[in-house]
């Protein structure tokens, strides 16, 4: 026996908006729900919070189960509590968005046949309030991206300026000027230019870069506030 009232306990779920990037478009991952209600409809990847874990643990567990990867960038952003959001039973859901590297991930994706990437612009109708979650996650991702270099997690380890620019363009959903973009990124001073070229996109080839984690960590502030 304790001081609190057990009457008001509720189920707590975690839903993850998983963003990826295929060098062309920003993508989001959904799964086909395989139980009632709404069986067969598209849904975010989610699960229930267990007694012995935190919300972050739960989100990590869900992402790990799906991808096999453990160190995924992830951020909690809102908790949804409409009374009837889940018709089965009162369920509160905390949503996280995550950023993953499609290339690394795809091996395991092929095993999970119910999961599918969608272009952000072509997202299907989702169950419950998941479309709302997606919208809010997208806004949050946009904001974060403009002030913090989290986007790099969406690219392969080595990438070209062009890939990076396309990534920013698809996250921010607008065209950017090539020269201004390069200048701005260079002024951030957190990339290492390799002596190595990517030859797939042109005969001339374009230099590859990697993210300089040390330099980034060394900077006082974690936010760059670069406005693109």
């Amino acid at each position: 026996m304790n001081a609190y009232n057990p009457q008001d306990k509720v189920l707590l779920a975690v839903d993850c908006i998983i963003f990826g990037f295929d060098n062309e478009d920003l993508k989001v991952l959904f799964v086909k729900r395989d139980f009632e209600p709404e069986k067969g409809n598209w849904s975010l990847i989610g699960g229930f919070l267990k007694k012995e874990e935190t919300l972050n643990d739960a989100a990590n567990r869900i992402l790990h189960n799906l991808t096999g990867v453990n160190d995924i960038y992830m951020e909690q952003f809102y908790t949804w509590s409409n009374i009837d959001r889940d018709p089965v039973e009162r369920t509160i859901s905390t949503s996280y968005y995550a950023i993953i590297n499609i290339q690394e991930y795809n091996e395991k994706l092929t095993e999970h046949h119910n999961a599918k990437w969608f272009s952000l612009t072509e997202a299907p109708h989702l169950i419950f309030d998941h479309n709302e979650m997606l919208a809010k996650a997208t806004r949050r991702l946009r904001r974060r991206t403009s002030i913090s270099p989290i986007g790099f997690g969406l690219l392969p380890e080595k990438f070209t300026m062009r890939q990076l620019q396309k990534l920013y363009e698809s996250i921010l959903d607008k065209k950017l000027d090539k020269r201004n973009f390069v200048n701005k990124i260079k002024s951030m001073d957190i990339l290492i230019k390799l002596n190595e070229k990517d030859m797939t996109s042109s005969t001339k080839g374009s230099y590859l870069y990697i993210f300089d984690q040390e330099k980034y960590d060394a900077k006082q502030t974690n936010d760059f506030y670069l406005k693109l």
Copy 2:
């Protein structure tokens, strides 16, 4: 009987960080906890989520009980889930920050003898993870204030430019230039200058302004992105 597992139900609380402004400093409201554990220690104002309400409802209920006021600016910002954050029982807490007008509020505050305003800089040790909540709320308030005119809710209906500037200075925790501040605020074009002066602070008196809700609503964007 339903599809979900009742095992993992948890208690869900709501904690509110209530900001006020007394024309000098940014203030936060805490209450002295009147039950064990941690009886007698300072705490955020909070309560448990009830079955028939949303988290927003719960936050509004808590704020209403405390202040008697209903249309308080309020925003959910994070859900805390460390296993042992509450020693009595596993409790998840969603925190909201709220912005209230001290003047309006003070009538009812006198009734509630356990509540007390603290300057942000002099916040006491709080129970559980409430200091962390406060820190996060403060960061969020700062960000919001720089891009959105939510701060006006902290002032009396009629206010002087000087009061407004002091408010921004105490939220952002830095000195601002008087002329630049006035110019920037005027460029937002959401204030109405009254033909009326506040005579309390100088012999000359300073003009009073009110917030122009209509003009504000009419603007396309809700965010001004004024950087101060």
